[in-house]
């Protein structure tokens, strides 16, 4: 229809140009050769992919995937009960919490990483607190380290998880939980066997979004992590910028995309209508 075409021309042109074309380019470049002075040499070769067939890359890929899944699990484990409790509050309180939560988005990933660096450093308050509580023997810097990376990532991803879960939990009919209570379920059991099954779809969506965002996170692992445990995102960034090896970066990106598609496929299967 003419009207549809008229409306969609602008978005179609821009989106195809800025999403589709770069993606196809990326694919093409992954089969090209690196050019130290420029970007890439237009030949067709599998060198970039062959360069990935080593333990190091496989290790980084698996590590990144595992970390993404685990951090996503932690984020959703915190975010789901949090969103549930928040949606039981009165409207005013909800707005306050939402604005507060969205404020944490106002810290760019750079400052996010930086602030965790300060907090978890030797002089930072947090380790002194741990020492005072007797959890650690004496205050030592927790960064660079895996814990710091995780804390920073959870912080960055939590608002997205909450926003994904919010519609379903806000619209959850209160009678459903009340019915469970009058049938004999304690509030905790009602949460487990009524609220969670009712929100299966959004739960999976929140998990997938968190995992994908973590997978693509560049700054936190770079700044807060040790070089041995640098994630795939960092390796890709390094290859492109410092290593001047764009085909390699492209090849790694394609592998990451494959991983993300698998994740998407599994989540679609998990939320299929029985």
């Amino acid at each position: 229809m003419l009207r549809v075409a008229a409306w969609l021309t602008w978005p179609a042109v821009v989106l195809c140009a800025t999403v589709l074309v770069p993606f196809l380019l990326l694919l093409r470049i992954s089969f090209a050769a690196p050019d130290p002075s420029g970007l890439w040499i237009p030949v067709v070769t599998l060198d970039a992919y062959r360069g990935l067939l080593n333990r190091e890359f496989a290790g980084a890929l698996l590590y990144s995937l595992a970390m993404a899944l685990l951090v996503a699990a932690v984020t959703v484990s915190i975010g789901f009960p949090f969103t549930y409790l928040m949606t039981r509050l009165n409207r005013r309180a909800q707005v306050v919490w939402l604005v507060f939560l969205l404020m944490s988005l106002s810290l760019s990933d750079v400052l996010n990483a930086f602030s965790w660096q300060v907090m978890l450093s030797k002089r930072g308050g947090f380790v002194s607190l741990l020492a005072a509580l007797g959890i650690v023997a004496r205050p030592e810097s927790l960064t660079p380290g895996d814990g710091a990376v995780w804390a920073s990532l959870v912080y960055g991803v939590l608002p997205f998880a909450v926003v994904t879960l919010y519609p379903a939990l806000s619209r959850l009919p209160p009678e459903i939980v009340e019915a469970a209570r009058t049938l004999g379920a304690s509030p905790g059991r009602a949460f487990r066997n009524v609220v969670i099954p009712m929100c299966r779809g959004p739960l999976v969506a929140a998990f997938v979004i968190s995992a994908v965002l973590v997978l693509g996170a560049y700054v936190s692992p770079l700044v807060l992590g040790r070089p041995q445990s640098w994630t795939l995102a960092v390796l890709i960034g390094n290859a492109a910028l410092a290593g001047h090896d764009v085909p390699r970066a492209a090849a790694m990106s394609v592998c990451m995309l494959v991983a993300v598609s698998l994740l998407g496929g599994v989540s679609a299967w998990a939320t299929r209508r029985r």
């Binding site: 009340e178 209570r181 009058t182 049938l183």
Partner: protein, 354 residues
């Protein structure tokens, strides 16, 4: 199921400055079917939710068979509730919904299945067990909600306007089914409704509520024939409320005419303003020349046939009286519709002081 008696003492619920339930005290004897009746916002649902344990009372106590349950949380009270929105679990099948409370109590599988089949037979949905909730009709879902509530063999059966979403015919049918079920199981039941016909049909006793307060408690015929105040008289059925003055212990002056009544409440002196309440069926509309005593003259201003009777509005000097007549009587009356008399049946009607 052992029948149990519920007692409410001085129950109160306020939300900030808004008082939803104000000092309600009543008793529900074991095995009875009680209806909480009142207009929207009268506090009946809040009262029911306090009994269920879903709201904490601001003041007052709640006892079952003498045991104080005020502080007991909802999931430990064993009071089953059917919600207005039904609240069936969409992610479980019909069988699983019904079995929910049994699973929570760790009832053995065989016993669970036996009980579920029993209940499915009771609600006549034996072959719908494995269906999902969305595949059922409104009436079927209603029955599943009831079966789910009964599975735990509750001490008290609570229903919050359960039939309001059903169409008229289905509602009538379900009312009878509910009543039969309750009688068969001898379950102490409280049903909240704003439909007075429903309350009059179902209840052994009715609690009429308005503005968070109990207006009257009594059997359906008590409530109907001897309303305690203007509100109850006006809310239940159709009613004529006429301003009158006391003349003596048996007579009132209604709109200037002397009317004999069954009894005037004791201690009222002559001239006290009261309200005389009389139902349309206790009024006989006759041609003026046939009128006897206890009659108010007027003119028929409106008539409509409603099924097997004719509803009439009679204009008595600017004031409206609602009356009824059989089609035959109306036909006989038609000629003299402009000059009729409203004949009040001797001994009918109630004198209300508030």
């Amino acid at each position: 199921m052992t029948p149990s008696g519920l007692e409410l003492r001085g129950l109160r619920k306020s939300y900030g400055t808004y008082l939803a339930v104000d000092d309600v005290s009543l008793q529900v004897p074991a095995g009875q079917f009680v209806c909480f009746l009142g207009p929207s916002g009268c506090g009946k649902t809040t009262l029911l939710r306090m009994i269920a344990g879903l709201e904490a009372p601001t003041a007052g106590r709640l006892l079952l068979n003498g045991l104080d349950l005020t502080a007991t949380p909802a999931h430990q009270r064993n009071f089953a509730m059917v919600f207005q929105a039904l609240a069936l679990f969409p992610f479980l099948t019909v069988e699983e919904n019904i079995a929910y409370s049994l699973r929570l109590r760790n009832v053995a599988r065989q016993e669970r299945q036996r009980r579920v089949s029993e209940l499915l037979a009771l609600i006549k949905l034996s072959d719908c067990g494995s269906r999902r909730v969305e595949q059922l009709s409104g009436g079927q879902r209603q029955r599943v909600a009831i079966a789910r509530a009964l599975a735990q063999e509750p001490m008290l059966f609570l229903l919050d306007e359960p039939l309001s979403a059903l169409d008229a015919k289905l509602r009538d049918h379900m009312q009878i089914e509910l009543r039969l079920l309750q009688q068969k199981l001898r379950l102490t039941t409280i049903l909240v409704t704003h439909d007075q016909r429903e309350a009059l049909t179902l209840g052994d006793s009715i609690v009429v509520l308005a503005d968070g307060r109990v207006q009257q408690i009594g059997s359906p015929s008590d409530i109907y024939r001897r309303p305690a105040n203007r509100f109850v008289a006006g809310f239940i059925g159709q009613c004529n409320l006429m301003e009158a003055e006391v003349l003596d212990s048996r007579h009132l002056s209604v709109w200037g005419r002397v009317v004999e009544v069954a009894a005037v409440p004791g201690g009222l002196i002559k001239g006290t303003p009261v309200t005389f309440s009389i139902r349309p069926e206790d009024i006989h509309v006759v041609p003026r020349e046939d009128a006897a005593s206890n009659a108010l003259p007027g003119r028929v201003s409106f008539a409509r046939e409603v099924g097997e009777r004719v509803e009439l509005r009679i204009d008595c000097n600017g004031r409206e009286v609602i009356g009824a007549a059989s089609p035959a009587d109306w036909a006989a009356l038609a000629g003299s519709a402009d000059a009729v008399s409203v004949q009040l049946r001797a001994g009918a009607g109630t004198v209300l002081t508030c």
